[in-house]
Amino acid sequence: MLEKALKGGPKYWAWIGFLLLVIASGFCVYLGQLKEGMTITGLSRDVSWGFYIAQFTYLVGLAASGVMIVLPYYFHHYKKFKGMVIMGEFMAIAAVVMCLGFIIVDIGQPQRMLNIIFHPTPNSILFWDMIVLNGYLILNVVIGWTCLECERQRVETPKWIKPLAYTSIVWAFSIHTVTAFLYAGLPGRHYWLTAILAARFLASAFCSGPAILLLVVFLVRKITKYEPGKGAIGTLTTIITYAMCVNVFFFLLEVFTAFYSNMPGHIHPLAYLFAGSHGHHELVPWMWTAAIFAILSLALLIPPKLRYNQKLLPWSLAILVIATWIDKGLGLLIGGFTPNPFNEITVYWPTGRELMVSMMVYALGALTLTVLYKIATDVKRELGELTTPD
């Protein structure tokens, strides 16, 4: 089926060319990082993880979110998702590719990466994260590819796909739980040291992931005439709305615990993020944007009239994505490292070169997604199934 990715119009090739250009220029900057070291980033002794790991964390959520389509389809035989299943699985593949990319660009000695396998260390959560992420990648590649190939040849999917699909549903929850455990088990990082972190991660994943998926699907619909069906879009939007309600609720639980207990260690990171402290206010506008956008997205999604308004929906989803991205892609990491172990504040902000390398990884994900979606839509077009009837 791969050959389908090699046949496309001028617009398709222009897009591919653009992505390759971004990857190439980002790679040049990355070579500089390899040569000079991580000194080209805004990271420091006190804020030792930053933009790269934050993107990794956010994208694990995107990868896990495919389950919001796969689960209703396989567990509840929700047929309206039939046309969307492959999109969710291929999105998961692209997301995990980006996750692995962000891990690789974040480590200081990437050529020693395989030490994680040569010296397996089960007491390290990173070891388990490596296992669940790669396992999830393999599961989605095998399931997605096999199902599409069977569809193309108009044959029944093999029997072994079903148990594999069930496994991938449970597995999806594991990837974001394990990623949360990376953070939630560290003494002295008050902002992360909360039993609810894995639940928060899953809640924000199940609203932001499907939102990104829908936005991409709307784009694909414009380009290829692919139509997931009104029913599928409606159901997924409802799932997004519920997940966002839970996500905001969980965050407010954190706020209550911190401020009602009045414990400085719990208050300090939140105070820095939303009000600034010690004269540092770098994140205040960002965090309030996230808070306002989160409420706004709920205001636009909860009333059914607004939720099913197809003109408004992309905007509501985009607002939701921005809110969740700031929360997880900036606030989470910086809040965990602020204040530092000496109760001081070291300011972190990504450098231009750091953002260039990040763009490379994002472009790599976009390229993966483009190729996979091109194949999927071409196959569905041949079958005359580009449109899912409601």
Partner: protein, 261 residues
Amino acid sequence: MKQSRRNFLKFAGLSAAGLCLAPATAAMASGGGTSKEGHAVVNSNSLHAKRWAMVIDTRKLNTEEAIEALAETCHHIHNVPTIESDQNIKWMWTGSYGEVFPEQENNFPSEDQEKHKFPLLCNHCEFPSCVRVCPTKATFKRADGIVAMDYHRCIGCRYCMAACPYGSRSFNFMDPRTHLDMDKINTKFPTRMRGVVEKCNFCVERLAVGELPACAEKSGGSIVFGDLQDPDSNVRKALRENFTIRRKPTAGTEPGVYYII
């Protein structure tokens, strides 16, 4: 044609078998008939303990100058570069009371407490979070309680830096040699490379040859170093006779560095 190929293969097989045998016979010949693996020779002067620990008397050691002098010695011995930015490397450094004991601050501190500076270094914890999270065992706890590092195995993921509640670990954001005077380095200790984490090592290389850690040796008695498990040791004596506290006891790591206040 066929015949010759067969012969060639036979010859090749025999040669390969010979290659496998050669090291074994060599080992037999040199090993005096035993097949035991060689082991490192232990320096007969080396110092041993069940659990190394440190007691710092902050009544004697409490000025920026005095602590910096010790840190300078430590950094020279271990080729720790001096980098003037947030991407610096610190094995030993100075902090105020509030920085060192952030959860044990008082709203009306004594004049001494406000004025005094305290030395900071790796705590060599009993339950080190850095060791728990390291995905390659590059940082590990030795039998004598020292938390050590293998700079060649570290992949630079910096998980240990996120895990350490004491901010005791540094990352080589750049090649450290660019910030070292290469004419003056200590050639008995390696320099590191960019992309790996490092920290105080309780001077394992000195203990191995019978010397105390450099900071303890230079401190004029204000830093005591010894075996925590031995009731008659100098550290246990110091702990018996003085009021001591440790950093962030709530983290549950059981630090091996005690401060006499």
